[in-house]
Amino acid sequence: MTQVDIPASVPAQSSPHAEAERKWTDFFTFNSDHKVIGIQYLVTSFVFYLIGGALATAIRTELATPPSDFVSPDFYNGMLTLHGTIMIFLWVVPAGAGLANYLIPLMIGAKDMAFPKINALAFWMIVAGGALLLSSFWLETPQSGWTSYPPLSLVSGKVGEGIWIFSLLILGTSSILGALNFVVTIIKMRVPSMGIYQMPLFCWSMLAAGLLILTGTPVLAGALILLAFDLLAGTAFFNPTGGGDPVVYQHMFWFYSHPAVYIMILPLFGAISEILPVHSRKPIFGYRAIAYSSMIISFLGLIVWAHHMFTSGTPAWLRMFFMIATMIIAVPTGIKVFGWLATIWGGKIQLNSAMLFALGFIATFVIGGITGVMIASVPFDIHVHDTYFIVAHIHYVLFGGSVFGIYAALYHWFPKMTGRMMNETWGRIHFGLTFVGMNLTFMPMHELGLLGMNRRVAMYDPRFADLNVLCTIGSYILAVSTVPFIVNALWSWFKGKLAGDNPWNALTLEWQTTSPPAIENFEGVPVLTTGPYDYGKTNEALESPSTDTPVLSS
């Protein structure tokens, strides 16, 4: 099979074109190499993940007991707002952008992104926006939730709210610049032998996510700018005191922020579609269906936003329209899940850390998908909207989905990025703790919401105390679970077993170059000799991973 057909070439380091060497200092500069930028994104967003996670642990500590006794209620709302904002805009979204930056050019055989300078700018805007947001810890925290609905956001502190708005404007602009790069690169820069249907599914999902970012984010920016006017200049676009309409803000906000949930999950849908075939040694099941479903999700994602407003100022016929549209999204989502199950079914599964997280992704994401359809149903959502049931839903999709997906991707592509393997034992411990902690933290929240516990509260009815203790214990397990990962990643980066070019015997292009890839990615223009998922297409035995795997020739 595959590798055998490919003529061997000399390792990149000894080639005359590769005299440029990667220096570690590159990672701290305005560097336009997509691989540097990708790693910058991933490491930076992981640091923000730790900050957001520390806030989550503090939030759960407050909620371990019914009264407000750990921090002041104002600061509680500050932590809540920063937790949500950081996790979304500084962790999941940029982590997806990091994977996209690192992988897209390698997967399509390009030397870099279409606009490398803009790409670097987009990354450094994340740092700027993130630093601005964190400065609110010392100045004044924003306290009106990551949704920041007026009029509350107009009366809970100008400084904190102002910081929040401008930080988000910077992060949103960064996201737009990044998306521009992804879309143009995917469409324009594939090697000539790669038709759109030979493209790895990760690229399809990034195409879908990029289009969503380009459509949705400007509307968010519009909402934020108007909100800033209301806040700082005393206008009344959304302020009812002057005749403004706060519901208009909600429409504009969700016009972006519903697509944002797909912006956060689509890259990981793509990553899972890459990881499962490799570690099951079987082609992806239904390539076209999975590719199209990304595009359909992306389109439908644009016309369902008001499902976040079923109990707000939304008239009946709109409630019904958005209910039906939302439910339909379950169909393309289902196509993906069933396609993944059919991919591993009958394969030869290797249960390593990457695969564990990928399977964990399916196991937990499906719960979030199911509750998604439930809360799309207006009569039921009227009961659970703004309760812990919603908190459970969002964490099953965003933690069970996006975060598990990011971990799966990190374990899977770590050897490519660093040239070294991660430790499997610690990877499995990490998975075990994360899986148990995640379910213990978020499963009981479904019941809390159904029973009557509202979200975003610092104090609650004592009859909810027991279930909350479970959630808090779970969150501590989650906090601990990151330790084995951090130690493993740091240790393996410097001391891990050498990976070789293609330790998983994968077929996509990024594995056909050296690990880590040379600065110009490939020797010349790589030529496709196989589809991205042609596992088992011939009966030849796999090359054993330890032998020198030849790379693509020019």
Binding site: L152, S280, G452
Partner: protein, 328 residues
């Protein structure tokens, strides 16, 4: 096959016996519960199917240590893909139609819900009036018209007056209930069992959401807009009333109770309220509202159009009562 039957039976059983919901205190709540049970049945089936396939695959299709060959070259199956596109499509269609029906029976389509649904401008008209949303009806010249906001009369009661109408005002961090017919003002809601009750929701400062978990009802109270909830409580008892929309630091403490009284109890409560006729200031002072002092209100003064004297007078009375009294 056997597994399929077992899965169906387990789903059907659990869908009816999950015991996850609190008591249902109205007929509408029972409708929502029926919908939820149906969704649970389907969900459990789907959940078991997916997790079952995952677990079986992990055990059955593990790669042997020394096996370096690939799996079978199967990259799709059109009929199968049609099946798993078609079945979910039918399922969501069924749930969609069922939800539509429940929503309609609850009164979601009552065109008269929320009375005059015009957007009311929150007035800041001249001296003596304070920038609270207009509490006494809506502005007849107000903006464009919206359809019903909230849940109105169920189809059988369409066009009829409710047996009891209560004005509900949400403010940081309390609910104030005014009974227009009797002039009763209370921090707790009393309603007669078996009667058609209509709540007219308004918000004084920021958005709040009026939630009755045991009635499966929720509606945002939005400054400058009216909304409503209409229902018939069938089960006597007292139930929590919860604010579900983040409304500030003490959002979590914005709770009160709704008492569903028998008609006699309700009559007695009414008489007693009328006899004692607590002043609005007393009502508000009696509410468990944290930190209603000047410090706390100062940042809001601007936005609410409060005069400095107002704040000073607040200081004396210790509460936000004046604001409310003025606008009542």
């Amino acid at each position: 096959m056997l597994a399929g039957i077992a899965l169906t039976l387990v789903s059907l059983w659990y869908g009816q016996n999950h015991g996850l919901l609190p008591v249902a205190a109205s007929n509408e709540a029972l409708l929502v519960d029926g919908l939820f049970n149906t969704m649970m049945t389907i969900s459990i089936g789907l959940f078991l199917l997916v997790e079952g396939v995952l677990i079986i695959a992990i055990f059955r299709f593990r790669r042997a240590k020394d096996d370096t060959t690939d799996g079978p070259d199967i990259d799709g199956n059109i009929p199968l893909e049609i099946v798993w596109t078609g079945i979910p499509a039918v399922i969501v269609l069924v749930i969609g139609v069922y939800s539509f029906d429940v929503y309609s029976q609850m009164g979601g389509f009552d065109p008269n819900a929320a009375g005059d649904p015009a957007v009311t401008q929150v007035a800041m008209t001249g001296e003596g009036e304070y920038g609270a949303p207009l509490m006494n009806g809506s502005n007849p010249h107000g903006g464009h018209h919206h359809m019903a906001l909230g849940i109105g009369a169920s189809p059988e009661k369409a066009g009829q007056m409710a047996d009891l109408t209560v004005d509900v005002m949400g403010l940081q961090y309390a609910w104030i209930f005014t009974y227009p017919e009797t002039g009763i003002i209370s921090g707790e809601l009393h309603v007669p069992q078996g009667k058609d009750v209509r709540l007219k929701l308004k918000a004084q400062d920021v958005i709040h959401a009026f939630w009755l978990p045991e009635f499966r009802l929720k509606q945002d109270a939005i400054p400058g807009r009216d909304s409503e909830l209409r229902f018939t409580p069938t089960r006597a008892g007292d139930y929590p009333v919860i604010c579900a929309e983040l409304c500030g630091a003490y959002h979590g403490s914005m709770v009160t109770r709704m008492y569903v009284d028998t008609p006699e109890e309700f009559e007695a409560w009414k008489q007693q309220q009328i006899a004692s006729r607590p002043d609005i200031n007393e009502v508000i002072a009696s509410l468990d509202r944290p930190r209603t002092d000047v410090d706390y209100l100062t940042p809001y003064a601007d936005d609410m159009g409060l005069e400095p004297e107002m704040l000073r007078s607040l200081h004396e009375s210790h509460t936000g009562a004046e604001v409310l009294t003025q606008s009542l």
